[in-house]
Symmetry: C2
Subunit: 430 residues, 2 copies
């Protein structure tokens, strides 16, 4: 495909107009301000459109689409124990497969090209992502409350099998990460063993850290005053290349450790508000030079995968919380939503528009009245755009979503199957 006369966001997050971008195979083959000589196939007329990197959703539980809006305005305890856990207890692999496809469709519609996911029935999640053509780093969250050895824990064995079977599958679009669910759902023994085995495997790590005050303070009580970051680091976990979701309550030496260990922090602003968890100190993390990416968390606590909206929350919350409207610039936000996420997933060759990089791209319609005027289009992208301005989503050079159509997902089948899952589970819970 050749994008003609299109506005684009270049690798330095600057806006360039009237550009040509040629895609060959799964790569960006040409970026220039003159028509290339090579024939790239379909010519996409770019007038009134913006081409940029797709979004990298750095923390999600995609199959939870089935629980969108299921139980609202409840305490966290009641919501988990009366709604989410009972619902999840009924899930089958088939449920998860179609629920994942539904979540991928929503992701593509909102310009997400790759997702860092943690859930279970991960083989089915992997199959759904492979079928859709989207990218994902998938992990099976490991929990353990007893004195078991890691190798005896089914979730670990699943993780290992998953890694062997699916890592680098789907022409490399699927990565399998290891995952410790969290400090408060594991034992020191498990953490240390998992760190060791993950390093041996060469896999990445995905873990929840300091999401709530209870978790953070509780950890300090349980472990001689150590914060979750300190505790997990002492056990070697952060020696793995790690994505740490949330980090709302990190403090003191935590910042230094996150920086030294090259941890990617996935901030989930909407979910952190909705569950009354708190606001992550992103400005401090950025100041320390830590790689900060953006996640949606699950739609059960969001309740959408509207990534542009998520970026607006991310871009605005810190200004108020830390009392300085200069904090978190639109360019910092866009970087967090794209390139920082790609780096966090270990995908160095994507997340920006650059010749030779993977063609994981989106096109936005920028002709709406809400996008005009554009004193600086980058400001409009973060603060004015609507999630639905995305009109095309391409992964590895293949168009997966275009103007309402999902080219790899049979939405009628997905609706039919997810409805059947929901009806069955809701009936069983009556």
């Amino acid at each position: 495909m050749l994008f003609r006369n299109i506005t684009l966001l270049d690798e330095n997050f600057n806006v360039q107009e009237n550009m040509y971008v040629g895609i060959k195979g799964d790569r960006i083959d040409y970026i220039g301000d003159i028509m290339p000589e090579e024939d790239y196939g379909e010519v996409y007329e770019g007038t009134g459109k913006l081409l940029m990197s797709g979004f990298f959703n750095s923390h999600a539980h995609t199959p939870m689409t089935l629980m969108r809006g299921y139980g609202e305005s409840m305490s966290l305890h009641d919501w988990l124990n009366k709604r989410i856990f009972p619902f999840e207890a009924h899930l089958t692999g088939d449920d998860v497969y179609y629920a994942t496809l539904l979540g991928i469709a929503e992701s593509l519609r909102f310009g997400i090209v790759s997702t860092t996911d943690m859930y279970y029935f991960c083989d089915r999640i992997a199959e759904a992502f492979i079928a859709s053509g989207a990218k994902a780093n998938i992990s099976r969250g490991i929990t353990c409350f007893t004195d078991d050895d890691l190798k005896d824990i089914p979730a670990y064995r699943e993780s290992k099998e998953l890694y062997e079977q699916y890592n680098e599958s789907g022409e490399g679009r699927i990565r399998i990460d290891m995952s410790l669910h969290a400090e408060y759902t594991s034992t020191p023994k498990i953490v240390a063993q998992l760190a060791e085995l993950t390093k041996e495997l060469g896999a990445q790590m995905h873990v929840h850290i300091s999401e709530t005050k209870e978790e953070h303070e509780g950890c300090k009580e349980r472990h001689q005053g150590k914060t979750p970051v300190e505790y997990l680091n002492d056990l070697g976990l952060l020696d793995c290349k790690t994505t740490a979701a949330h980090c709302v309550y990190v403090e003191g030496r935590d910042f230094q450790i996150l920086k030294e260990k090259g941890v990617t922090v996935a901030s989930n602003p909407v979910s952190n508000l909705k569950l009354a968890s708190g606001v992550c100190n992103v400005p401090r993390l950025l100041e320390e030079g830590i790689n900060v990416a953006i996640g949606t968390d699950s739609v059960a606590s969001n309740n959408s995968l509207n990534f542009i909206e998520e970026m607006k929350f991310f871009g605005l919350l810190h200004k108020e919380r830390f009392k300085d409207p200069r904090l978190t610039t639109p360019r910092q936000t866009l970087y967090a939503g794209t390139r920082a996420g790609a780096i966090g997933q270990g995908r160095e060759d994507t997340g920006i528009l650059k010749k030779g990089y993977k063609a994981d791209l989106i096109v936005l319609d920028i002709t709406g009245p809400h996008m005009y005027p554009a004193h600086d289009l980058v400001n409009n992208l973060v603060y004015s755009a609507s999630g639905s301005d995305v009109v095309l989503t391409m992964v590895d050079g293949k168009v997966l979503y275009r103007e309402g159509e999902f080219l790899t997902i049979d939405m009628e089948k997905v609706r039919f199957e997810t409805k059947r899952s929901i009806d069955r589970i809701v009936e069983a819970l009556k």
Copy 2:
């Protein structure tokens, strides 16, 4: 028009499916679950669509569309003094007319049927609203820093003339309110005189109250410990039917006064974040039984009029700030965005779907993957919907926006004229 087989949000904010709604003139003439006998003209096929009240934007400065994204990541002082005030100094009536039309187009695209607006060149604002067919409560914010008499202040004379010329114009869609800009931009003498003359006129009042901590604490220093609410109330201002924008720092006896005086509080969550002002204690206001509505403020501090997005911010912020995920339910949010706004504007006959009420309605496409499943559609509307899901906006029974088309606004002309305004002003500021 007859909406057929449509899902609707009824006057109690409950969802009803497969309904018929007939519009006659500017009113809702029929709501029922069977096909009416009467011929209402065009039949609108409602499958996959939701019909509900349009949104009431309860605090805005619509012509500031020209300054969207103009100056970001600056301190409030620099932003105002280096960007906004110098830009505004160059505005002409023609600039304001087309800038308002641009803002109305954006409003209609996002389902806003009526706007409570405060700015200057208000005659041109009124003309723009009249031409568009949308509703507005328009006011000229009065400021005074000297010992002048109110009647000698040009902004007051403008307000008075505006009231005489435009109140109830546009078949009643236009209301002219009086406006004190704020406590810190006026004198006690002016406040008392304006209160008196507004009551004589029978007009409503629109005022900024306790937007920032500086304003709130400064007022207490200036006026014997009185908060802005106490001070303005003591001078009689709140005896007028008042919309008070922001109220972020209201405290103590303020709640009781706001309740007793029947003040509508317009909360502007996005603007309050972006300018690092704070988070309004909406849960407490609601608990006291105060009418709380939602505003976008200007797009210079938002930067859009995406009302569904604004509702999501409104619906989520209080959960985190006041540490309780049960706070501000989706139904409270929807009420604030519709019926509470209509009441605040003095428009008792709109803001809900009810037979005999004005047909100020919107249609949303609810078939997107982000709107599925719908365990409770009201939850999805507030937390999952995208602003662009609005596909039709009707005011007083007339369709003003439909699937990308603005039926009363010449967008090409608006773009041409606003571009000319911006180019001229930006050039002059060089």
